[in-house]
Symmetry: C4
Subunit: 269 residues, 4 copies
């Protein structure tokens, strides 16, 4: 039950760390063509990287992306690096197949096809998060279904399917490293807000950056609550009716957490 | 068993965060009519917001209020925002029905009716806390009764009833968003120091701000102790006689924790 | 198994907090007669307060004392306050019965009789710690015996008896608030390095301040290890022969942890 | 499941602590003959000390070493001190038998023979870590075999044998304090990337400093995942085929975590 707090501690301390580490960690931002019509989109993407790291959803690995408003078939994501250190100079544009439009020598995440596939399959999705969260992996390897324990994670009512690459692809290196595997993951995900990846992590998707961050964060909270509750006794989850109404109410308030998380991350570049 | 510590870490780090975040997060305080005869009441309310956040009782959500000393039928609470960022300019006055007296464009918490109902039902209560604590929700969804494991949480001897909105109101969005639901919660709470809300969180109430904070904090500690103890074996809880005496002794020392927590929060505005 | 780390995080963050909180929290030190022949004794006692707080052994409550080198029948301990904020001006001298020698209006801890009783019963003891550690209380309320899981806590081989005040004193407020209860606790403790207090906490004692701090800290570590190990299977504890030898080896290295912890606490007053 | 985060929090806070503690903790670096042809080797060794401490793999105890590039039969390791405080002036050279080449009054770790033995037995090993990790000890005392739960710890497919000194040496003080015990440990370790030491800790070894740190860190993560997963149900571990491929893919990305961890540690001396 300690994990919500731990997430916050992570927030606090990582932000501090990134802060003191910045001088060492920052490359000089290089001028580049605008990747979007709305500059706020890149700012929010950088905040999402920093927040997901500071909240413990991402560590040295994992990534978050946003659909381009300039070309909705494209998406924006950092070059291959630790999310907690991402700056505007690190943001790259990817096409519908997950290939970089203008790499300029920057490496791409091997698993960028997760994002490409979800954007192709889900026009309603504007932002995607991929994480190796230790809270959620135990559900993925035991086939335990995540269900909404409290109102904040009511969106789990949309489903939390588990994708096991072994079923279709046999022995792989577990990475979603091509569009074929990405499409299989997106198919398993269906219309859900998240999908678990067996022995690997999970994917969260939503109609905006703050909401994909909210869903990734509260999926972790629910995972902790569900594990702790199951140890105490039989769990009374939200009813489908409660969850449908609670999702509207709580996701409508997601901005309150987003503003707090931004204030914790402090100034970005 | 790690959760007390985690709470403290949260304290430390959040306070630090709020500190560095303050420049970005603070609106310019606006002049306003005094909401109370005792200015210390507002100062303590702001400290309570910061402390509950820094101790992990509140996160981006939840709230704390105090009964007005100017009009005891009214209460004071922050506008709708993350408790960790609250300043004096954010404190609003609410009437006996939970409606803002002078909103001046500031939004109110949807669940302010929790506070209004408890103040109406409990003349002895001077301060109310509402939290989504991950430590306590597992008890609310499994029907596990919180009982005092150690002297610090002896007040649980007063009871820790669980309110399930579904019993009386069926499928709702789980929020206590009107006085009817607030009254039902207050009725379930009765004379207890806390009440759990199924799939949502809990409410703590006491005769002063430091004591409502103390009860909210030590309810979490007891929840962690009780879960950890039940994993080890059969728990010998405090006897009713021990609890009655220990409550007097420990709540009489609550000021020591309050002073520490204030020193951790540092200067407020 | 996360708890060692949590303790360290507590260390880090609390120290930081105390640091920023100090200006607000510090009273002006007042001149006073030397309480000891060796000024280092007071310095170490203050470090012990700060370290035990920063390591999560103490929170707003609990205390640590040292036997006076000026009058070995007396001991030194802070006035009644949060250990994390203690300075040299707060150190008081107590006589063999736990009564203050020169209170000068300063309040004393209600449970100072724990210390007085152990010093009376154990000439070999030079320092005593009393804590409400959440790691250890579950053992006290379930009657689970702490045994050495690893070499660092080999001193548990000396025993870890549980004192239940209810056996001899019936319904009390759970506090060791007189010499009669203190003597009963000391009798239960016998020659052990620690004793648990049911529904309350524990006491650690040793021949020096760094060693009493070491024992309090590693009793927590062992509690976490033992709980986590019991969840995995049947535990092979250290054999009595291994524990006897390992205690000599590890307690002989206690200074390495003490120096680290001091460096974490930073400068004291 | 909270433990990955906790590790990171440790990282953040410890680094901060070490930072503020440095003035107090740092000895004046003394001029000395170069221990290596590649100065980066010492820099990386110091980073490894700081990172393993900040990530919670090491605390006041434990150590990390690197094989000398000047004399591959020798290795480099800090003098006996807390890893979190190590500077270049503290690095000593040890011969193939674990004896210091030029002690200059500096004390050596009692368990340096762990390193000497592994370097003698494993020409492929260039760096060795020894830790008392609370995450891993429960596996060592219950005989629970660590197996790869996710791709990041696929190297566990190489094996995670448990060394119990009692089998061959009977009642000892549990320390690997001579070459005979070191050789027995190395023999048990065989070609694995790690070996557990019953009631004591574990050893990680790899072909470079960043990779030995990576393996030590992700062994902890896997320990947490495996414990949490086993509580939920039957665990589907990586298949041998998946693990073999995933090890190549993930260890090939270890540099991303290393760069992040270095940025968290900040400037070293």
């Amino acid at each position: 039950m300690s994990k919500l707090k731990i997430g916050f501690v992570l927030a606090a301390c990582m932000v501090f760390l990134v802060a003191i580490a910045r001088p060492a960690a920052r490359p000089i931002p290089q001028p580049q063509a605008s990747l979007t019509n709305d500059p706020k989109l890149i700012e929010d993407l950088i905040y999402a990287n920093r927040i997901l790291y500071s909240q413990g959803v991402l560590d040295g690995f994992g990534h978050v992306s946003v659909r381009s408003d300039k070309d909705p078939s494209h998406f924006l994501m950092s070059r291959s690096m630790a999310p907690g250190l991402v700056t505007s100079a690190d943001i790259m544009e990817y096409d519908a197949n997950g290939e970089p439009v203008d790499a300029r020598g920057r490496n791409s995440y091997l698993e960028r096809y997760i994002h490409a596939a979800v954007y192709r399959a889900r026009p309603d999705v504007k932002s995607v998060v991929h994480s190796h969260s230790l809270d959620i992996i135990p559900y993925s390897v035991t086939g335990t279904v995540l269900r909404p324990v409290y109102h904040m994670s009511a969106f789990l009512n949309l489903g939390a399917p588990i994708f096991d690459s072994h079923d279709e692809f046999g022995d792989t290196d577990m990475l979603i490293r091509n569009n074929q595997m990405g499409d299989a993951l997106a198919k398993t995900m269906g219309k859900s807000g998240i999908a678990l990846i067996r022995g690997h992590g999970f994917v969260a998707a939503a109609g905006s950056i703050p909401l994909s961050v909210y869903r990734a964060y509260y999926t972790q909270m629910n995972a902790r609550l569900q594990s702790d509750s199951m140890k105490l006794g039989t769990v009374k989850f939200l009813t489908p009716g409660e969850a449908a109404k609670a999702q509207v109410a709580t996701e409508g308030q997601a901005g309150r957490a987003w503003e707090l998380w931004k204030s914790q991350v402090g100034k970005i570049e």
